[in-house]
Symmetry: C2
């Protein structure tokens, strides 16, 4: 099996709220938009982010874990400098993010903060000074 991820799919409760946040708030352009069912955005050279309405997700994949606490994933968006981290967090707040954790200096040398999308999925906005990892994930 090749080391490749083609789609990341997140189960969402309210696709209209999701559209308002990602399309209208963050200014992203949908690749596919089927109201009440699914919304897809390009998220990299060979990657699509798919937001799938919860009942459709459950019908195919299985009953969802529920309850308090955060989902066991984070999505990182890396930028080229620390100022870019603060800028993106401010943009997410302006877009209506229900939860923003201000960026702090991390033990490993980076500077990162988090915002939540309407379903609480955590995006980590990150500056990573490691040239190896930055070289992999940052666009040319």
């Amino acid at each position: 099996m090749d080391q490749r991820i083609s789609f990341l799919t997140l189960a969402v409760a309210d696709l209209d709220a999701t559209r308002r946040f990602y399309r209208d708030g963050l200014g992203w352009t949908p690749e596919v938009d089927v109201p009440g069912e699914v919304l897809m955005f390009r998220a990299g050279p060979q990657l699509v982010l798919s937001l799938w309405e919860r009942s459709h997700f459950e019908g195919e994949v299985g009953t969802l874990m529920t309850g308090p606490g955060v989902a066991p994933i984070t999505i990182a968006h890396n930028v080229a400098d620390p100022a870019g981290v603060d800028e993106v967090l401010a943009a997410a707040e302006a877009a209506g993010s229900p939860h923003v954790q201000v960026a702090v200096q991390r033990d490993w040398g980076g500077y990162t903060g988090y915002f939540a999308d309407p379903d609480g999925y955590r995006w980590e906005i990150a500056f990573n000074p490691d040239p190896g990892l930055a070289g992999i994930v940052l666009p040319d």
Copy 2:
């Protein structure tokens, strides 16, 4: 905010089991391997998959949702033809996947099945006949 995902991070219970599955079972090559803490694999042209030991994840992001049911995400790995779907699912089973859902024809025209990694995260192995989406996610 650009439409880019740099890292997908999954909280994992046992990093040694994770390493056995992805590295030894699926044959993937780690980019970063810090025993007991984190394991990272390249997963696309500008994408890294990070498997982060649960207590470290919780220390930074917050207490995890627990309980029965599946995590609210899937990761898709697209291939160029239906036979490729069956091959990858067989490879995942041989690698020790705790749960494989055989591929079926989907209403939207694709052919997909799922396997679970050691933490139950679902990978969808997919053939998508839509040339638009396939053109985005498949390598050249």
